[in-house]
Amino acid sequence: MSRIGVFVCHCGENISSTVDVEKVAQTAAGFDGVAYSVDYKYMCSDPGQSLIKQAIKDHNLTGVVVSACSPRMHEPTFRKACAEAGLNGYMCEMTNLREHCSWVHERTEETTEKAIDLVRMLVEKVKNDKPLEPIKVPIFKTALVIGGGIAGIQTSLDIANCGHKVILVEKEPSIGGHMSQLSETFPTLDCSQCILTPRMVEVAQHPNITLYTYSELESLEGYIGNFKAKIRKKAKSVDHSVCTGCGDCWTKCPSKKIPSEFNAGLDNRTAIYVPFPQAVPNKPVIDKDHCTYYQKGKCRLCEKNCKPGAIHFDLEDEIIEVEVGGIVVTTGFDVKGTDFFPEYGYGKYKDVITGLQFERLASASGPTLGEIKRPSDGKVPEKIVFIACAGSRDPAKGIDYCSKICCMYTAKHAMLYQHKVHTGKSYVFYMDIRAGGKNYEEFVRRAIEEDKVNYVRGRVSTVYEKNGKLIVKGADTLMNGQPVEIEADMVVLATAGVANCGSEELAQKLHVSYDRYKFFAEAHPKLKPVETNTAGIFLAGACQAPKDIPETVGMASGAAAKVAALFSQDELKREPLIAVVNRQMPPTFSSCVGCFLCETACPYRAIEREEIKDRAGNVIKTIAKVNDGLCQGCGTCVAFCRTKSIDIQGFTNEQMYSEVMALLND
């Protein structure tokens, strides 16, 4: 006979303001098999948990239903509390009265009725719960970091400095990411490369870090502590163990008209190239799509000029397999190009550029060596217009969110321009100035007050070319929407930060969630910002949402701490919510008839064949058996099974049917 305890939480007022919690508790007390029922203000608090523990002892409870928030939030909390009171943790279930009831309904009788229904369902489920023991699995103490921008660099260094091995994978020929492209950084105006490149070198030299550049994740299998990743090392056509990085190859390369990714298309690179002089590793790769030899079968100039003989055109992509325990995704972001904006000329005006291109113009390592010259004719612009929120916060463009970094970098750009072109005039068109952050507001004030940047509150409706000038038409909303027209020499669009183009594909390889903008989704917006919904996979940086460098670095260290915490244990306890094949007394042994439909259904190849033998060793029957190391508990096999012989612990047929019946038979 079940003795179930029902614990109804008020969650402060989050539940009790729309659900009559007392009534829920009183009604639940009358359910068949419920021995104790109570409501309390904060069930997850220490006194709340003590209340549950005490009730388990006092009333000799055999099962617990906590009716509070989402089990995705507090199921582990309450299962632990039950275990501490001597009740198997898997005899505890949660009813989601908050996310699925009180927060989504008004205070009506129906809301309370629904809450009672939800409790009844879980009371019936818990009656069919069975005590389970966690599965212990070893942890492979190597981390995989995907993406070698500042987030990946910081994460890798932090994990490596904890004494664990790190594999850092970067798809470009060099690590450094977007931060290596920046000129100076807000709000201190320290040079980006000066603070970044030492860390890049540290990564390359760290004994615990293995760096794979020009490489991408091919596939991923396994689970927390025991992932198997395949990494595609793209053919570089250059043997880096022999190459000295002397540069004889790229100076002789005849394909010189390839837009440089590093300089955001403002100048060109060769087909054999090092993305930038401070690259790590500082050795070239051949871009096969643009190489004359690969495209036309003739040339090989680089090979002829390479004294150490490092060029090998026949090198092929290599797939390596690594075992890792934890993964941090740090793939960063991208920015919209000027071609995204019909109102600003669809990218056809050379002097309408993106903020990232302006970074390259302002950078000492850029195509103009830090001088602000416009791309069309190389003249120093006398008047420059910055347009903030280009794409961002614009539902019509499908980007509803704020890209967060643009207000600050636009202020920085205007400031850098004023510092470099003293006679110049700069205008910033903005919607709001969002300068939340330490010393950020002061920085923007400095641009306005000391550097005399003209801030105009309003949107720009159109930019067009006339007599060699860019006519910027907008409105000043602080002057009653008065039209403003500026004849500018250059226009800089603070284009929206968006998810990297391959992010959806990567998310699918990793089985992590992503949002409608294709940014990776964190497990909880406040309390689990670096975790994903997939155990053992963490996030850092702008792959989760646009963010600035300090925030990215903080998040990267946070993710590294999560990985280090994971690696601090020798074995991991895994949820035993996996499939099992029933066993019965002879002569049947199991109701499994050995059709092995489950074998074809299982995405993890976790179904094995077990032979049941008699004493003489003759095989009597072959039945399915679940490998509990491989099973992930999806339950696809359960729905396939014709004889109901395989079932999934924690979500058994009995449990699911009893929930449905409880709901409909009130």
């Binding site: 995705r72 309904h105 019946m661």
Partner: protein, 149 residues
């Protein structure tokens, strides 16, 4: 007599739609109280006999929802569910069950608003269709006359 309020059961996966419904709550988006969620690890776990059981027990409508194609936490469970649904729909037609009583959809963990919309439109549609007693009658008949008789 008050307006008919349909009873709707939602079978959802833990990773996408359950989390999406959590987000509906976190975002405080309101929807009808008629739908009650049963949590599964994956839509691939859903044995469609459960749908018949639900109708037999008096459900007026059913929602099945999981991860979008390619987004399944377990790689392919949602594809199995989709294929099963295609087969099952034919069976429902054959048996004379109005297929509009089952809503099959994808709701990701980030689509809180979409979940509210699906709940509300399903409730409206099923309310329009009226109470569903046909299958319950069959199930009750089977229980009393066939099983016991």
């Amino acid at each position: 007599m008050s307006e008919f309020e349909p009873k709707i059961v939602a079978f959802v996966c833990n990773w996408c739609t359950y989390a999406g419904a959590d987000l509906t709550g976190t975002s405080r988006i309101k929807y009808a109280t008629n739908v009650k969620i049963v949590r599964f690890p994956c839509t691939g776990r859903i044995d469609f006999m459960l749908l018949l059981k639900a109708f037999g027990e008096g459900a007026d409508g059913i929602i099945i929802s999981g991860c979008h194609p390619n987004d399944c936490h377990y790689t392919s469970g949602n594809f199995h569910a989709r294929r099963r649904w295609v087969m099952f729909r034919g069976l429902m037609n054959f048996m004379g069950i109005d297929t509009r009583r089952v809503q099959f959809s994808w709701v990701s963990a980030a689509e809180g608003a979409k979940w509210a919309e699906i709940v509300n439109t399903t409730v409206d549609e099923v309310r329009e269709l009226g109470p569903y007693t046909d299958y319950k009658k069959v199930a009750d008949y089977l229980e009393t006359e066939v099983t016991n008789g």
